[in-house]
């Protein structure tokens, strides 16, 4: 331990600065004590109290700066230099002008009165209150947050309806308003097809496929998954349909929803029936095939896919479309590679509706399809459960995302699961979606390739071929673009499906054995 005592003659620093500098000097590596002070009687007394006894201190005058540093022998020189650095402080004014941020919506609206939409992604416990403020201020709202109560959702949507505004959400993952993608959305061409969707990735997929077929999207209005429940009664969907009907830029309306409540489905179809434009409707998992209205077409497994129907109605010649038919020779080829015991499909999905769509394809052929989003409790499994037989997991569902980011952003949980599923010798196919676009991971394929490679080699060590089947939801305008992502997958030996339904169909056929 060495003590360094230095008196700087006629050097004035105000006491407040000195206190601040002392605090910093004491934090310097190797310093056990650093005292900086003007040589006032009070400060001299302080030094005496801590055992500093030196004639130079006695002689110092109040206009002199006293520096006392106790430090480890080998650290003293560095400590003095560091303290010198603190004393020789420069005006390091923050050059970059800070961006303006507001603490409250009221404050934001005051400064930006032309704000016309509020995107809310704060904790669901607080989202309703902020949404109410926005609506009361005459702003449209998109609520990305989940965990908003049914009562709040109903009250907010009624309030919005009264005011001629729209509430997208809660739990609304996607929207495209005036050509701008909000939250999770793909870069798609603008056009004349308006979408109202009570399903996030389902709406995204329709928009992407419309783009793929050469069409364009006027608006994509998300409603949140619960909008078509009996409690909410489809308020946002109905207001959305009416808004698109009144929108001169929209010529065709597309409706897509997860399984709706029957009474609400009827009500929604009635509103669609009043529209002056052709309306194409997909209610996933619904048995309805007839809408009862001339302008409203129900799109089901047995009809033309939604995107094709809409694109054709919007004026694009059907004969120009590349409809990506199922590749029958490919199915035969994969079947031949799989061993007899490889009977099952494991679907690991980021997108809830993508999972749903693929699962419906499997369910059309098999009974033993397990999922965390299965309606039948006998076939429901949780996030912690091991997969069994055919399993389709929506890894974006709450039981997977509790306390962690959505797999579209952070795929780590899915990466582990890919490897786990490969260890099961009864698995023939692992089916996966890759969602591109705004809000999503910036290289969802790249981050997954190592897990895919590992999974394949685990199967290979057993002497099995493991078929990895991928569907990339994205467009050529997305960053990264879909072509680049597909090329990466193909290089890793992954088979590509052209839609999520296609993914489900291929997967189920790959593992179908001779008697099927």
């Amino acid at each position: 331990m060495t003590r360094h005592i230095e008196i700087r003659k006629n050097t004035y620093l105000d006491s407040v600065s000195l206190m601040s500098m002392s605090t910093k000097a004491n934090a310097v590596e190797g310093v056990t004590q650093a005292l900086l002070g003007m040589a006032t009687p009070m400060n001299k007394e302080v030094l005496a109290n801590v055992g500093v006894d030196d004639p130079s201190v006695d002689e110092a005058r109040p206009s002199d700066l006293m520096i006392v540093i106790d430090a480890a022998d080998d650290a003293l020189e560095a400590a003095i230099a560091a303290v010198d650095g603190i004393l020789a402080r420069k005006d390091k004014k923050a050059a970059d002008a800070r961006e303006v941020r507001y603490r409250t919506l009221d404050g934001a609206f005051q400064e930006a009165p032309d704000a016309n939409l509020v995107i809310i992604s704060v904790n669901g416990a607080f989202a309703a209150r902020e949404a109410r403020k926005a609506l009361n201020a005459g702003k449209n709202v998109m609520i990305f947050s989940d965990n908003v109560s049914v009562e709040d959702e109903l009250a907010l949507k009624n309030l919005a309806h009264e005011k001629g505004l729209i509430v997208m959400g809660p739990d609304c993952g996607t929207a495209i308003i005036n050509g701008t993608g909000l939250a999770f959305a793909n870069a798609v061409r603008r056009g004349s097809i308006g979408i109202v969707g009570a399903s996030g990735t389902g709406s995204q997929e329709v928009s992407v496929r419309i783009h793929d077929f050469g069409g364009g999207v006027s608006q994509l209005i998300g409603t949140g998954g619960r909008d078509l429940s009996t409690e909410i009664g489809g308020i946002s969907m109905i207001d959305g349909i009416r808004a698109l009907d009144a929108d001169p830029e929209t010529s065709v309306i597309v409706i897509i929803s997860k399984p709706p409540a029957e009474d609400v489905a009827t009500k929604v179809l009635e509103v669609a029936g009043q529209a002056s434009k052709p309306v194409f409707v997909t209610f996933l998992g619904s048995d309805r095939t007839e809408s009862g209205f001339d302008n409203v077409t129900m799109v089901t497994a047995g009809t033309k896919p939604l995107a094709i129907a809409a694109v054709v109605a919007s004026g694009i010649d059907e004969s120009t479309l590349d409809k990506h038919p199922l590749n029958i020779p490919l199915i035969e080829e994969v079947r031949a590679k799989l061993a007899p015991e490889q009977k099952y499909v494991r679907g690991l999905f980021c997108g809830g509706t993508l999972c749903d769509e693929s699962m419906f394809a499997a369910l059309a052929k098999y009974d033993n399809v397990y999922s965390n989003i299965q309606k039948d409790p006998a076939y429901r499994i949780g996030a912690m459960d091991e997969s069994r037989e055919h399993t389709f997991l929506d890894m974006g569902d709450d039981d997977f995302t509790n306390g962690r980011p959505h797999p579209m952003i952070d795929p780590s949980l899915r990466l582990q699961r890919i490897v786990e599923e490969a260890k099961d010798p009864s698995v023939g196919v692992i089916a996966m979606d890759f969602v591109l676009g705004f809000g999503a991971h910036d290289d969802p394929v790249g981050v997954t390739i190592p897990a895919i490679t590992e999974a394949k080699s685990i199967a290979a060590e057993r002497g099995h071929h493991l078929e990895i089947l991928g569907y990339v939801l994205g467009t050529d305008l997305d960053t990264p673009a879909i072509g680049e992502q597909i090329a990466q997958l193909e290089a890793a030996g992954v088979t590509i499906a052209s839609s999520s339904t296609n993914l489900g169909l291929l997967a189920r056929e790959f593992v179908a054995k001779g008697d099927n």
Binding site: T23, K93, Y102, D114, I119, I120, D239, D247
Partner: protein
């Protein structure tokens, strides 16, 4: 804006939440309005429910009107220094065995180290105990009446300990007629109000009782007009004080106003010289004066029905308490916080006592931390930059009802100091008032060891908001 109007307008989104959504909007050429949002009410569901009740448009309108009345009363206040007197003769409810202290009510056993140090020192000073040990026994015996300064129209800095024979300022709010009191500055460091209590402290208190107080009192009795403290305070801010931690200009102005009268008193030149030397020994002489000016102004807003404006923020070293115009004398408390800031040489954070004193009346009024931008010379106190000091003052606009046109900050284009802290706004924004203050050693008998800034505990505001939700008429 209806949905169809939205379709035909330029999209102008507000992004409340995940920043990545804002980044994606920017990538698409849309400039989002950015938010720096925190959960209202500190995230407490009861508090949010209370806040929502107060947000009912009819209720909010009633509160806004009441707050305007309260703010007008505060801003129109004209605190005048009328004179000095001994507490026993002056302060309402004072007795020979009463000890006033800072902050919300507290019994002796719960008091912090420095407050105990101050109380016992005062008992020795008053001759009620022969020494500090005896004073500890007496303080715990139940014979002494402890009471908050604030409940006696008074404020006291740090421990706030005020005993019968101490001299106090007498300040009258000439607009509203109420009077407020506070004791005299002991200056800084090893002094009673920081918990020091050795013989040097008692000797100084004796001199203040026998010479300092009487001279100031005699001087002011020669000044029939009184001193316009609001005017002087306003000047002090223009000269670079924020009138809580920095009082250089204010002290100069005050002693300059007092000096001619001091010279005219019958005291000896030596005694007068002692007074001037004492005032010159630290910049803090006028500190209590601004506190009592603020107290006299804030008391004018007490009892304004339905008002959510904070009229008191005070701490006793254990609890931080606030009182609100619409809920009368009721205290809402939370734990006293640690003050973060530079320390005198030789001391560390481990030595510091928790936040203490009635001096936060200055921030309650709108000066001190709220006027940091007026005092760039002390930004080092908060380890910060001048820009940050400007930011503190601007930010306080988000939780206050208005600005004081009589007390302005030149560097902010003469913005009036943010005034009238609104409990609702504090809870909604999550922005807590910023308070400049000093740090006492946690043990009795030592004194001041540093200074810095702190924020009140959120609990005090949560409790106040819940009470307001029950109090304000629906």
């Amino acid at each position: 804006m209806s949905v169809n109007d939205l379709f035909s307008a330029n999209l102008k989104p507000v992004n409340l939440g995940l920043d990545m959504f804002a980044d994606d909007l920017k990538k698409q050429g849309v400039e989002p309005v950015l938010m720096d949002w925190t959960p209202p009410g500190g995230g407490d569901p009861d508090v949010i429910a209370a806040l929502s009740r107060l947000e009912d448009p009819a209720v909010a309108e009633r509160i806004d009107a009441a707050n305007q009345v309260a703010l007008d009363r505060i801003l129109s206040s004209q605190p005048f220094l009328e004179g000095f007197g001994q507490a026993i003769d002056t302060v309402p409810g004072m007795t020979a065995k009463t000890i006033l202290h800072a902050g919300p009510p507290i019994e002796f056993t719960r008091m912090s180290g420095p407050m105990k140090g101050a109380v016992t020192g005062a008992l020795v000073f008053e001759g009620l105990a022969k020494n500090i040990d005896e004073a500890f026994e007496l303080a715990a015996s139940g014979e002494i009446t402890f009471s908050p300064c604030h409940e006696h129209q008074s404020v006291g800095s740090m421990a706030g300990v005020t005993s019968a024979s101490m001299w106090v300022h007498k300040v009258t709010n000439r607009t509203h007629g109420n009077t407020a009191f506070t004791n005299l500055s002991e200056q800084l460091s090893k002094i009673l109000r920081f918990g020091a209590n050795d013989q040097s402290v008692i000797d100084r208190l004796n001199w203040m009782r026998d010479v300092f107080g009487p001279i100031l009192s005699a001087a002011m009795s020669l000044n029939e007009d009184g001193l316009d403290l609001r005017l002087m305070l306003s000047q002090a801010l223009h000269m670079g004080d924020e009138a809580h931690n920095r009082n250089v200009a204010g002290t100069t102005l005050l002693i300059q106003a007092l000096a001619p009268y001091i010279l005219e008193t019958d005291f000896t030149t030596k005694e007068k010289r002692e007074v001037f030397d004492f005032v010159a020994s630290s910049d803090y002489f006028s500190g209590p004066t601004w506190m009592v000016a603020a107290k006299a102004s804030m008391d004018a807003a007490n009892g304004v029905e339905n008002s959510t404006i904070v009229t008191t923020m005070a701490r006793n070293g254990v609890d931080f308490g606030i009182r609100v115009a619409g809920t009368g004398g009721q205290w809402f408390t939370g734990p006293a916080q640690e003050v973060i800031g530079p320390m005198f040489a030789g001391y560390t954070r481990e030595d510091s006592g928790l936040d203490m004193g009635d001096s936060a009346i200055t921030e309650t009024f709108g000066i001190g931390g709220f006027a940091m931008a007026a005092a760039p010379a002390i930004v080092a106190l908060v380890g910060g930059t001048v820009d940050e000091a400007m930011g503190y003052s601007r930010t306080m606009n988000a939780i206050t009802t208005g600005n004081n046109p009589n007390i302005t900050i030149p560097a902010l284009d003469f913005m009036g100091v943010p005034s009238g802290i609104d409990v609702r706004k504090v809870m909604e924004t999550g922005i807590l008032p910023v308070i400049n203050t000093a740090i006492a050693h946690k043990e009795p008998g030592i004194g001041m060891i540093g200074a810095g800034i702190m924020h009140p505990p959120v609990e005090a505001f949560q409790k106040a908001l819940r009470a307001l939700a029950d109090t304000v008429k629906p």
